[in-house]
Amino acid sequence: MNDDVHTLVGAYALDALDTDEQARFEDHLHTCAPCREEVEELQATAARLGVAVAAPAPPVVRERLMEAIARTPQERPRTVVVEPARWRRWAPRALAAAAAVAVVTSGGAYLVEHERSQEAQQQVQVAQQQTEAMSAVLAAPDAEVRSVTLDGGARLRVVSSTSLDRAVVASAEMPAAGPDQDYELWTIDADGPESAGIMEPGEDGAPKAQLVDGLGSATALAITVEPEGGSPNGQPTSDPIATVDLA
């Protein structure tokens, strides 16, 4: 059987295998890149046989569908394709198991396993929403990326999207803030700085990627070191360690 398995590729593309054979062939596909390529081409060919007998559906099908999708949830996107290649360290990573969600931190991905417990599920949902929102910024057609290197070698990347009015701030090789300190993000516009939240530390203490919601008329983003929990008075208590112009 194993010698023959490649010859099944045509029958597979035509859905002409029985259930067991189909499952076995699909297992084989995982390990055979040439077969996968051939299957893609032959399925595309078979699809043309389908288009050849196209026949419009009655309008009621469309109506029922539009109504159904309004109340049908979608599965979470599994992958975000981010270019150029240098972004891989900062981009949310797709994982083979649909059950795991990657939350972006500096220097790598922090995995949140999709467990059955209620609390874990809620955490995953929050993480998923964050990841989705961040992925949307990275994938926005008008996304722009700006980089800064700090004294000491830490690097910051800001991806901003005017259409989404949001930005993602990610860091690499950024030291953890001191024991009673936090990094705070600020948007700066004509009226001065406004807090955009604390950069939460990840497992290793370094700040995790942060979503900045609502850029508005901000002309720059800044990071300062503040007391733990952020500035007590809504204004930076020291000069920024980094500033990124948005204009």
Binding site: D4, D15, L49, P77, W87, R146
Partner: protein, 196 residues
């Protein structure tokens, strides 16, 4: 201080005439209008194929609905690097249609009902061809297959038969039947210039 760089050069605004692949990306983000447009572009293919395989118009409508609902639910899982959106949707359709027709009729019934006119099933593409150009090209390219390759491919694709059933119906061995299906598809691919 770093300079601003567009992350997606050349993509700027939304294109004027969205193709199924772009629409599917938008659907993955929950865009209901994009879903409607995707439906408008692909539904005739989906419905026509389902209709051709399962024959029953009501069943065909159900399949079309199930396919598009699945597209809505799983658009985020579609891997654009592995073929076009159109191929994906039609492959989903063909699978469901074939499963339906195999469930609804026993194997021996279906083999018995096969119309033994003795010749290759040329008419299979003549029926219900609303996409005339596409039908013409497929019809023309099916001519580049041997009669036996054409029979094997069309029995499998439009008839929903397994290769074992096709082998019995054409009184050929299993290896020969598998080879005819593969070689037939390869010839079709080359004739139509299919790019994945």
């Amino acid at each position: 201080m770093g300079e601003a760089v567009p992350l997606h050069p050349g993509r700027g605004d939304v294109p004027d005439a969205p193709d199924p692949d772009s629409l599917l990306q938008a659907v993955a983000r929950g865009d209901e209008q994009a879903f409607g447009e995707l439906y408008d572009q692909l539904s005739a293919g989906v419905h026509g194929l389902a209709r051709r395989v399962v024959r029953d118009p009501v069943r065909a409508e159900e399949i079309a609905q199930e396919v598009f609902l699945q597209v809505w639910q799983t658009a985020g899982r579609f891997d654009a690097g592995r073929g076009s959106a159109r191929t994906w949707v039609l492959t989903l359709t063909h699978r469901r249609a074939v499963d339906a027709v195999r469930r609804d009729q026993s194997a021996s019934d279906r083999e018995d009902r096969y119309d033994w006119t003795g010749g290759p099933d040329y008419d299979v593409v003549d029926e219900e061809v609303s996409s005339r150009l596409e039908g013409e090209q497929v019809r023309r390219c099916l001519q580049t297959l041997t009669d036996l390759q054409k029979e094997a491919v069309t029995l499998a694709y439009y008839g929903g038969y397994t290769y074992a059933e096709v082998a019995r119906m054409l009184e050929a061995t299993l290896p020969t039947t598998k080879t005819r299906m593969r070689d037939g598809l390869i010839r079709l691919r080359d004739c139509m210039g299919v790019a994945v």
